[in-house]
Amino acid sequence: MTAASPPEVLRAPLVVEFPFTRSLGPVQSAFLTGLRESVVLGVKTSDGRVVVPPVEYDPVTSEEIRDLVEVAATGTVTTWAWNDRPRPNQPLGTPFAWALVKLDGADTALLHALDAPGPDAVRTGMRVRVRWAAERTGAITDIACFEPYEDAPDAPAPAPGAGPAPHDGVFEDAVTGIVAEARLDYVYSPGRAQTAYINALSEQRTVGERCPSCHKVYVPPRGACPTCGVATTDQVEVGPAGTVTTFCIVNIKAKNLDIEVPYVYAHIALDGAGLALHGRIGGIPYDQVRMGLRVEPVWTEGGRYPDHYRPTGEPDADYDAYKELI
């Protein structure tokens, strides 16, 4: 038999999602709490520049910087990009501009969305102001976006050298952490060798692949003999029976598993396989499972993998017969 490509490669959604809990530290805490209170804070670098949003460490000298100042909620676009097709999770659902905005009083620009009717309404140098989110929690999204804003024509220019006012960064009920929900969607495909293995399992057969070089049989096959670094080729059916090479007794319930404890989690060398795979042992009291126990798979309706392995009733295998497979 050769390992021809299966007609259809398996695919399935893979969702990587977690609500990360992020602690902020003092500077970021002050900034995000400030946003909740409609106040925009910056931080002064060692050479007197005002960085907004405030960073914790001076990007030039690397020194810790903690001198907070309050800057305006109005500013000037330093560059922009028109986003005609907003992607999920982005600040606005309708077409908008990404913009770097230098707030009045700041020396650096902050990235956010700019709500404008269209690209013709946006230009570098245009004046904008913060549009605050209706509900604010202490997050960068408390700034809903920027919006165009024309200063009063004769608004006085800020006095030179005045600079933004110091701020102690102290707010009542400061936000010290954020929860960053992050979901990424992938389509997972296990590749040729594993697809063949999984397809065989659906017929309740365990099919490994043999290395053409060292002739060891890999179960599950992963497409390569890891010691020879060559593609495994010939498909070889192994088992169904095998030997428990080693095991542990699980007494603690895993979060996402619906298995009553205690149970035995074992390494099982199926007959003909060059290494052990993992499975649960049933059909025998947990405290009677032993190394060398001969077992066979038990399938349940619709299960992709054997539900568990149970004793075959054969005599135990000699330690010498399986010690290389542990």
Partner: protein, 357 residues
Amino acid sequence: MTGPRTSRYARDVAVVAFAQSDHLRRTDELSEVEMVMPVLHEVLAATGLKAGEIGFTCSGSSDYLAGRAFSFTMTLDGVGAWPPISESHVEMDGAWALYEAWVKIQTGEADTALVYSYGKSSPGSVRDVLTRQLDPYYLAPLWPDSVALAALQAQALIDAGETDEPALAAIAARSRADAGTNPHAQLRGAVPQGDYQVRPLRTGDCPPVGDGVAAVVLAAGDLARQLCERPAWITGIDHRIEAHGLGLRDLTDSPSTRTAAQHAGFFDAPVDTAELHAPFSSQEVVLRKALGLGDTVAVNPSGGALAANPMMAAGLIRIGEAAARIHRGASDRAVAHATSGPCLQQNLVAVLEGDRA
């Protein structure tokens, strides 16, 4: 034969072989190891070395692209790490894996190194995945995607009078035209500039999304000459990083590229070839400026990242492509560049030279 003219390090180290996969939009039928292994075989075959004869192995890849933790551990199966090997991995583009391997050879602990890197961008949405690379407090929660960030940089260049949309289109067209002779490229020949993805960047200004692998063999001194008719000597290599925040940087320039180039000895003599890792047409403008490249230099004769941009491998491919030109006598002194992070935050520069007749 004369050695490289400007080597400033204890040992002369060269790229003696380079191999890459065909870069494809998707490779569902292949697991990562199934994708990587043939390229490893090819690069080793080019040198006649067996895996067990390699002194040091180093790879680059990203768990976030794969959507799985420890994804690189499985790819090691394709190397045949038995008996056990001296090996390391960077969660970076393979160009930095090459740097680590080059350092290892400089210590004298190894005379040869196998470097490989790979990325499968097809399983996920790489534009969204890359948002997870941003500062997690102020930027990542807004999900600004990689095209949007590059577009902000492009607009800054346009505002500064450094480029315009027709010039960007010309870069894109030249890259795809040059890729016509690159059998591994994903996009070859004329590709329409298309609509704006994020204005001012059009489809043609953006790299294709795809899967691919690259591998390189390094060797030191006389061994390099035995393994390769015309080794591509790494006469200088250096990399530098900039501040993370986009608002803290001048997006129209790449001081880290310039600093790395200085330390790599790039400015000591002219080059005839530049392989620049510029995933967006506008970034080529920035890099040309940082390196002061004139019109006499062949920039991205392979087609560059605009023709194939397998994440985590595209930087190593630049070094490989530059080396391959030296191997076949099409270049005497070339510069290769790799980048990482939003808007060219981190940059590596390698100078490669061939022995002169």
